[in-house]
């Protein structure tokens, strides 16, 4: 009796530990069936969710493509899983760590997968890889071969609330950091948040880079050398620190995520925020700001507006381990048709990733300016250690606001230099 109790207690202790240890991987689905090349197969498609709710979730968009595809290719079925952006990297990473490979992912893409030999090249996965926008080719390439295939793109601009600007007596949108500080101070006096600074884990890497660019900084030099802790970048963080200390941003930016702040901007609570066209449907859904109540301009830099902005592309990656090359190629050729590209862009206010679809949109009044900015946009580093740097940066860069910017950036630089 006694002994069994201590045994039971020990087992309970071990059991609950092990269970909690497994919790992280519970999101994994089963492996997909192996089919002979070209034959019947079920493809596992894992996508990021661009929707703002169940009525426009990305799985709806993909299901439309899938059912049209399945009618034409009855032997190939596709199962789609949509994962919200907050968890996407983590869940895909977990699937891959556990060797439960998807066939296709659409969302963030990491060079590591190419390095490990897990991916089909764009050449192997698409009939016309040349139709992908050239501007993003380098970012998706590993050792000269393209693996990451852009599916949708966006560029960043500064959105501002015209109504609040008017109330605060500001006549023109900000062009420099000093403008941002002055305008934010006036808006703060109205009881609103002057500038929305999302440095929380969701997308800190984007906000940080946009500010770095304003001071001629960045993550890497043009020759690919890491410069996270460069003097300019430290200076940039010090400026942000002064912004936060003066109470011109939302409280505790290191804990605030992009999605939440975009919602707050859409609700009219924030004066200025960096955004992509994807912010537009959020504003429309919230119904607080009319189209005439907001505008977007080039992102202000230290002494003038940025001539380049951050160009982000979300990539498709085709995974090798399940051996479905022929089926994947059939499906991707189908999904990359112009009509689906345009449908996606209309649905989520994002930009196309193929030359032919971009041509079709080149006279569109809303999209044209964003499209024009794309070719010379700056991008994230295409380096295999970027996955590690990014994850650490997401968790720690916010502490540069409260602590010592130099030491936070030093630690990140060390991680980057340590290599993958």
């Amino acid at each position: 009796m006694r002994r069994s109790l201590i045994g039971a207690a020990a087992v309970a202790a071990v059991g609950s530990l092990v269970l909690s240890g497994c919790g992280g991987s519970s999101g994994g689905g089963g492996g997909s069936s192996k089919g002979a090349s070209g034959g019947a197969a079920t493809l596992k498609l894992v996508v990021a969710d661009y929707g703002t709710g169940p009525q426009n979730t990305s799985s709806k968009y993909w299901k439309g493509i899938i059912s049209a595809f399945h009618t034409k290719n009855p032997s190939i079925s596709v199962n789609v899983t949509a994962i919200n952006w907050n968890d996407f990297d983590n869940q895909v990473q977990t699937l891959i760590q556990n060797h439960q490979y998807p066939d296709i992912t659409e969302g963030d893409y990491f060079q590591n997968y190419a390095q490990e030999g897990l991916l089909y090249s764009a050449q192997d996965a698409l009939s016309k890889p040349g139709n992908l926008l050239q501007a993003f080719k380098a970012q998706g390439s590993y050792k000269g071969t393209q693996y990451g295939m852009p599916f949708t793109t966006s560029s960043r601009t500064l959105f501002y609330n015209k109504k609040l600007f008017q109330q605060a007596g500001i006549s023109s949108p900000p062009q420099t950091w000093a403008d941002i500080k002055a305008d934010a101070a006036k808006i703060t006096k109205l009881g609103k948040v002057g500038y929305g600074l999302p440095l929380g884990p969701e997308e800190a890497q984007a906000e940080t880079l946009l500010w770095f660019l304003g001071n001629n900084g960045g993550y890497q030099t043009s020759s690919g050398k890491w410069e996270i802790n460069s003097p300019q970048n430290v200076q940039t963080m010090q400026f942000l620190q002064s912004l936060v200390k003066a109470g011109l941003t939302e409280p505790h930016p290191g804990t605030k995520n992009r999605t939440d702040l975009w919602q707050d901007f859409a609700a009219g609570k924030i004066g200025m925020i960096n955004g992509s066209p994807a912010l537009i449907p959020i504003m429309q859904k919230a119904g607080v700001l009319k189209t005439s109540d907001w505008a977007s301009v080039s992102i202000p830099g230290k002494s003038g507006p940025l001539s380049t902005t951050l160009g982000v592309c979300d990539n498709v990656a085709a995974f090798k381990p399940n051996g479905h090359q022929a089926q994947i190629k059939k499906f991707l050729d189908f999904a990359y048709q112009d009509k689906y590209q345009l449908q996606f862009d209309k649905e989520y206010d994002l930009l196309p990733a193929t030359t032919s679809a971009a041509k079709a949109l080149s006279s569109d009044p809303i999209f044209a300016p964003f499209l024009k900015a794309l070719p010379n946009a700056r991008q994230y580093p295409s380096d295999t250690v970027w996955a590690n740097v990014k994850s650490q940066l997401q968790h720690t860069v916010g502490t540069a606001i409260t602590g010592n910017p130099k030491s936070v950036l030093d630690t990140l630089q060390q991680t980057a230099e340590k290599g993958a």
Partner: protein
């Protein structure tokens, strides 16, 4: 209980030779060897037969509990790429990396504070709540059902609800605090509870207590109901006051229930993940991480180091549990 069981099995042992006796009358040729090995095989069979009953449970524990422990320890000494490929042995490298993490010390201290505070507060509140629910009052059945709610609801949901309620500019809790005059203005640093590490930790401890209360209360309530009413009657006849009765009868007799409930709470709270992950993701930085979220964050890039953190976590839980059992001298209590 024990007597009955051994009684049962001993009669079985006496009975079993009886039917086997006829085998002694078997033809001489076969009788020699089989006569000798027969009982031996039987004895082996008899000593193995409990294994038949215990076997499945042992196998289950081996596969579900012990095997993952082996894998965990093995992982912690391997060098693994972020994509899950083993690149070779890392020796003690992962442990070296882990112990040189600047955040580790804070994480460990926080874990101790988190566990002790949550468990102590939970147990004290549960003792009071169990006493209350043991009284007769109208609507007691409904109240007892209602107590299950925080337990039945998904912890992640509860954590999310609290996160939204604490939203700096429009959370219900903040609106309420402003309306009663405790908060000057919404959207300020003061209203942003989850942005300040200390305040965030206190709120999350509150949520942890909230979700741990039902189980502990029910465990103690069950304990209270096993205390015979005659004891209370006798004490009252002897002229003992309420407080005296509580201290000399209720608490000592409740001790086994308290020990079990505390032990399970310690293990659960120590490993608590969803509350912290959903409310702050362990941030800003790692300043609200306990060991479990910290391990999860490490896992994204450094699988081996994360496994080393798991091993450390595992060792800590075992040490804590053993210490606890030693301190409470539970053997004397539970016998």
């Amino acid at each position: 209980m024990t007597d009955q069981l051994t009684g049962g099995s001993s009669t079985g042992a006496v009975d079993s030779p009886a039917p086997s006796r006829p085998s002694d009358n078997a033809p001489a040729g076969a009788a020699g060897p089989s006569g000798r090995t027969g009982p031996l095989a039987r004895r082996i069979g008899q000593s193995l037969s409990p294994l038949l009953w215990v076997g499945p449970a042992v196998a289950l524990i081996a596969v579900v509990v012990l095997w993952p422990v082996v894998v965990m320890v093995h992982t912690s000494i391997q060098h693994i790429s972020p994509d899950g490929f083993v690149l070779g042995s890392a020796g003690g490298g992962n442990y070296g990396d882990l112990f040189s993490e600047p955040a580790l010390k804070g994480v460990l201290i926080r874990t101790v504070i988190w566990t002790v505070a949550v468990v102590v507060v939970t147990m004290v509140l549960s003792l009071a709540a169990a006493q209350l629910f043991n009284q007769r009052f109208p609507g007691r059945r409904v109240a007892r059902w209602a107590l299950i709610m925080p337990w039945a609801a998904s912890v992640m949901m509860t954590a999310l609800i609290f996160r939204w309620s604490l939203n700096a500019s429009s959370g219900v809790i903040n609106v309420f605090l402003r309306d009663v005059g405790l908060l000057h203005r919404l959207g300020t640093n003061q209203a942003d509870w989850l942005g300040r590490p200390t305040a965030a930790l206190v709120w999350m401890m509150g949520v942890a207590v909230f979700v741990s209360l039902p189980f502990s209360t029910y465990a103690l309530l069950a304990g209270l109901q096993t205390i015979p009413a005659e004891l209370y009657e006798a004490a009252r006849v002897d002229g003992a006051g309420t407080w005296r009765i509580y201290r000399s009868i209720t608490l000592p007799l409740l001790r086994p229930a308290i020990i079990v409930a505390t032990l399970i709470n310690v293990i659960n709270v120590f490993n608590s993940f969803p509350i912290i992950w959903e409310m702050t993701r362990g941030g800003p930085g790692y300043s609200t991480s306990t060991t479990t979220p910290f391990m999860f964050i490490l896992k994204q890039s450094y699988i081996g180091e994360s496994a080393a953190m798991s091993v450390l976590n595992f060792g800590l839980v075992i040490v804590v549990v053993l210490l606890f059992l030693r301190l409470t001298r539970w053997k004397e209590q539970m016998g």
